[in-house]
């Protein structure tokens, strides 16, 4: 069933200006209402399509809610063990250097469970692109604290809010990795507004072009809504993100190669 504003459908002189990327297939997905991850993945797929890399891309998936997209994305996908996607992507890229290779991980996967994997891959200057969907929670397992949970944030394992004295401070991975030699491109985006989604697409393009030019390691962290793990309604997700998360995780480019034109 479909509905439009005009009972007869779009008038003949209307031209289609937006449709779902073919790289997302046609199935529905099982992620929660108001989740931020699907839009990050959508603009990533649009970018790969626009770069003409559809048949030449390998995604190495971490473990989290985004893992379900392994069944939707119309590109080659591999499943890594929790946190180990950067090691696996290292292998894929070294064996198949002409492929566009990226990891798709969460903050729980990349920053909590697999921190040493991503740090060493970055320091080695591995020429793949790492993508971190940072929702400051272990979403899939029900909303527990991760290394990026912000101070004061309530999770199932920090019911009174994350406390610096008891639980430590959130890790800002892009800021941490930007200082490493071997790291060519680092940026952080957001998907809580339409403008944020569009800008994140540009960051993906810059990171993947960095890889295509062989300039070194690239990382894009995208702050994504997790209303389920934040215990707010789907409609409240963008405001929660704006007020609680973005002051800790400011968006923008932290490092970019001088030769990069996009």
């Amino acid at each position: 069933m479909a509905t439009t504003g005009e009972a007869s459908g779009p008038a003949a002189e209307m031209r289609k200006v937006f449709t779902r990327s073919p790289l997302l297939g046609s199935d529905t997905h099982s992620l929660c209402p108001g989740c931020g991850e699907p839009n990050a993945i959508r603009v990533l797929m649009e970018t790969i399509e626009e770069m003409g890399e559809r048949g030449n891309t390998v995604c190495v998936l971490g473990i989290g809610c985004y893992t379900a997209f392994g069944a939707l994305m119309q590109i080659d996908c591999q499943q890594a063990m929790h946190g180990r996607a950067p090691a696996q992507a290292t292998g894929v890229k070294r064996v198949l250097p002409d492929r566009l290779v990226f990891t798709l991980q969460g903050d729980g996967d990349m920053v909590t469970e697999g921190l040493q994997e991503i740090v060493h891959a970055a320091a080695r200057g591995e020429r793949f692109t790492a993508i971190c969907l940072n929702n400051a929670a272990f979403g899939e397992t029900g909303g527990h604290m991760t290394a990026t949970t912000v101070l004061g944030q309530r999770t199932k394992s920090t019911l009174g809010g994350r406390d610096a004295g008891r639980h430590g401070h959130p890790i800002k991975l892009p800021e941490m990795l930007a200082g490493l030699d071997g790291v060519a491109y680092v940026a952080r985006g957001t998907v809580h507004t339409p403008v944020g989604v569009k800008k994140t697409k540009k960051l993906f393009r810059a990171a993947l072009e960095t890889q295509r030019l062989g300039l070194g390691f690239s990382l894009v962290e995208v702050v994504t809504m997790c209303p389920t793990g934040w215990f707010v309604s789907a409609a409240e997700g963008p405001r929660f993100q704006e007020e609680k998360l973005l002051p800790v995780f400011p968006v923008g480019e932290l490092k970019r190669p001088r030769d990069l034109r996009v």
């Binding site: 209402p33 108001g34 507004t193 569009k198 409609a235 997700g237």
Partner: protein, 81 residues
């Protein structure tokens, strides 16, 4: 009736009722339905006045929107030329 320069096709049964599309629509022509879809969620309904700006499609996590815009007509192109 105001003539719309754009329109959207909404895949109603894919909608999860998150309401993220409602506040991002600049002319405010989307509102939630009183009834629910096949999976039990209220979904957006379009009124006249869509500009085809695509912002609803940019924010919808369930890829429910297709967006259409009017191609500038020959007559109006001549007037502005």
């Amino acid at each position: 009736m105001a003539k719309s320069v754009g329109t959207v096709v909404i895949e109603v049964d894919a909608c999860k009722g998150c309401e993220l599309c409602i506040p991002v629509c600049p002319p405010g022509v989307l509102s939630m339905s009183p009834s629910v879809n096949a999976i039990g969620f209220r979904y957006p309904i379009l009124r006249d006045g869509c500009t085809g700006c695509e912002l609803c499609a940019e924010i919808c996590p369930d890829y429910c929107f297709e967006v259409f815009r009017a191609a500038p007509s020959r007559a109006s192109a001549e007037v502005t030329a």
